[in-house]
Symmetry: D2
Subunit: 322 residues, 4 copies
């Protein structure tokens, strides 16, 4: 059994991770660290786990007792932790924060998008789990980059569920405000763009254009739905071949020739991708569940790869569908 510890256990991604790991046949949860909730049963915070676990939050960190450590910490806090602690040699790490997503000589984290480089992840020790928007947008673009086809700015409009903004209440997550509402934030300046570019450059050395990304706040809780537009000379048939070939070995990415909608992926670790050519414009639609393929599901997928398990272990989830 793989023994797992979680830091930052009270947030949404930790809850989702727990909901996955509890049914993982090869994992035992050793501790869930949350200073603010130490001593409280996990089910008091993570609804939907009632009857499934007796775990209690702890403020201890028995790192020697675990094989893998998940950081579900706020951005910046993983780095603080890594800088101030010496981790046991054998310990593997999956970091859900954005602290180590950009490669740098100072750290040895591998970017954990299995559809980009599964091999590297399998051999890694520390994984930087990708951002939710970043995952959804990359999965729309990777096959193009692989085929050296991105030569201009890419136009991205993507709408996210409220869970993407975390558990902390605020004005834009207030039900009375958000219900039936639509708005945008951080246009052309979202923090996930750099990691997208980093991946595209890996596949297409010549890649040198912008991701013109407008993020929308949606009035739903789960999911990201993205439209991606760029000019492209290839025709629809050859593009479909390209995408299907690229994702041949990716069990969670499905290329659909029919139009898709967000709820087809909610509560799954899937990404659906749909392509349409309109004259010389290529429209790519992709969607994921932001808490699963966009966060904790991908974290488990990475953990499976780190430990040589089948990538899909504990991730064949019943879609909620409605």
């Amino acid at each position: 059994m793989i023994k797992a510890g979680i830091i930052g256990g009270a947030g949404y991604t930790a809850g989702e991770l727990l909901r996955l790991l509890i049914n993982h046949p090869e994992v035992e949860i050793t501790f869930v660290n949350s200073s603010s909730n130490a001593g409280n049963p996990i089910v008091d915070v993570h609804e939907g786990l009632i009857g499934e676990t007796d775990l209690v939050f702890t403020d201890e960190l028995p790192l020697d007792e675990i094989d893998v450590l998940f950081f579900c910490t706020a951005h910046g806090d993983t780095k603080k932790f890594m800088d101030s602690h010496e981790l046991p040699k054998h310990l593997k790490v999956v970091d859900l924060s954005m602290d180590y997503r950009l490669e740098a000589p100072e750290h040895e984290f591998v970017y954990g998008l299995p559809e980009l480089d599964k091999e590297a992840i399998s051999k890694a020790k520390y994984i930087a789990n990708p951002g939710c928007f970043a995952t959804c947008i990359q999965l729309a673009l990777l096959p193009l980059a692989k085929n050296q086809l991105i030569h201009e700015n890419v136009i991205v409009n993507a709408i996210t569920g409220s869970t993407g903004a975390g558990v902390k209440p605020g004005a834009t997550s207030h039900f009375s405000w958000r219900n039936n509402n639509i708005s945008i934030y951080k246009p052309f300046s979202h923090q996930h763009v750099p990691e997208i570019k980093q991946s595209l450059r890996k596949l297409q050395g010549s890649y040198n254009s912008e991701i013109d990304f407008i993020p929308y706040r949606g009035d739903f809780a789960r999911g990201i739905f993205a439209t991606v537009v760029l000019h492209c000379k290839a025709n629809a048939d050859s593009l479909y071949l390209m995408y299907k070939e690229y994702y041949a070995d990716a069990p969670f990415v499905h290329v659909s020739e029919k139009n898709i909608d967000l709820k087809q992926v909610v509560n799954t670790n899937k990404c659906l991708v749909h392509l349409e050519k309109h004259d010389d414009k290529l429209l790519i639609i992709s969607c994921i569940d932001n808490l699963l393929k966009g966060a904790s599901g991908q974290a488990v997928q990475n953990m499976n790869l780190l430990f040589g398990l089948d990538e899909q272990t504990a991730l064949k989830l019943k879609p909620s569908a409605f």
Copy 2:
């Protein structure tokens, strides 16, 4: 022109009051007091007023300049204010808090439910505006009390929109939690029950039973939908006559012989009431918009009565319907 001041101007009921008064042909808003927002334009806080007003929040209280003062304050704060200020003699007051809803020798507030005693309101100086649940439930029951027909516990189940819980963010108003969720709170102990009983006793001296009220949190922003059940010997036809007679002079209450649904009243000052007899059980359905007939709409209705205006002035609102 009636000059109006508002205290507690940053909350939901104040926003709704402003949205109504801005279009009131006989009212001029003199000041909107909010210590936390002093100096900020009102449209910064109350969305949907953009382009309609240049008013700015103030921390001043020029009580001498106004004819009517609306308290949109938290429960307890109106009383604190009244105890610590001497109001100008001529000044009329409409208090939306619950501080003075129960009659007492110590105060001269009149309970502001026009369908209970329009006459008293018209002659009053200070009005205690009823609670939202209290309004919805009373309007379901008043004709029965008037006809001395309540002889046993009344079973009430009523579901409210999130705006009933106010602007302050919290766990149960977080979009991620509340969206698509249902829950209850304060079963059999909601603070609006005493004012309901007080009204019933006024119409039916013998009234001496319980209101068994379970409040539900709904996953919508506006409205209250209540079902009220009690045993009653009268038949449906005579009950409809009773209700229609009782509300003959109530321009906002409509007795519907067809089944009703919540959105028929949203964004209006109406209350719809529907009756069904099932054997000896009488089922009464009533619904209102909690921010209008349940709060600020009723406050304007009361103000209209206080100043001898047509009750419906500024309250013939376009229903949102969807």
Copy 3:
């Protein structure tokens, strides 16, 4: 491997059944019959299954090739089918319609609520799967009946998601109408009441009172949330003991001493039950996912019992939580 066939494969309960059976380690889906969709891939109708199955709807009925037949048919259609077909001797049946829920000398269906009589189900050949409201309300009441404690009318208010009304579009399932709306239907006359009474009588021979049930249409897709009220002399502690004892062997029913909310069970096969005493009134809250414990999840649970499998096989589902 258990070979399964499904009749009425295009509806919501069939979709949910497929989403469960696809991940069931002991089941192989042999055919999905839908005359209206014959020849179409299942993923064209049941979204969220993309990438998980290549199954195609058929209008054939190879009953000899299967071990278990699920009826996801409209009410009335199972009976028509049973009256006009001779089923292979060995074939087991789980009927999700309401045709055989009431016991009668003319048929040999066993009522499939495992928490009522798991033993009988295990030995049965034909199962009548309970109704969704009926499941939620019975699980709130069975321990009381077992302890001979129901002596008066039981007041039930329960709100259901839109999937309860099926896939066929109509006025009350139109998004523009239902979004943010609340209404009731069939008060005191819902078709699930007789099966509830039948179960209560089995446990409490003296049971002879009414279920005063008002069903509400909720503005969400999945779930049923019920409040159940009756007078009861037992105190809270002894009632909790009673309920926990009754459900000691029921892996999907959890008795919670904390208040509960609907989303704690959505996308699970669980039922949560919470109790509160208020003076002599007992309030029981129970909630389920109407498509899982209220339909297809319970159908799989019954199938597991029919074939001697662990009751929870393929039903340890990740809650959607949000």
Copy 4:
């Protein structure tokens, strides 16, 4: 009093028109024609009007008795009607269908976007009321065209509420499907694009580029929220001046220097426009209520202009805000 008739009275736009005209001080509704509903009270179909009107649908067409005729007909049906009927000479027409939005020698309809040419509308007899998406997108672009600033393709992503798809139930308006879902339709080929181009060309003779428009289905009932992106050399300050000058005489269009969200316009006839420069990219956000400024509100605005009334008559609506 202006006497008004309505054809196609059972749809959403007719309902909204009725909700407006009932409170219009200068209008009397003479008839509401609906062959399918002839004889039924209007409140049976248009919820939210209960208590406000005793009107009954008719299948008669007393065109001689009215001053203005509103077509709330399906696309194609207005033209059929016009081709087969001779209208009384004095009769003015506002057509909410798309039949006459494109100017042509064969007809004398004037395109009814007051912010484009209020003068022409005031003098017109027949008005072609603009499309909902078309209104929202044009109001984002008109000041640019007026200043000859559109020199390349314009990227538009806009999301609409379900009421935009009408009252007829269907797969994509089913609550169970649409709730919490996002999808797109008709990318780069929406039928409103030609009328947008026609208007831009009127203001900017040199305009010769594309509107790359992706329409999204939102999981809310009312409203359209659009983002519009193009390259533009002008800086933000000068653009704000330009927009404010262009809309100086437009009482319903408000240019906001703060970010905006959809619910700020819901249940109003307003359009909000917000601008941001990001390097050389200009982002314009605009939003309207699709049933008001996008349909029936604009129809009343046009009627006001046709009859020389204040443009805002009966259109100073209380925003629903929540």
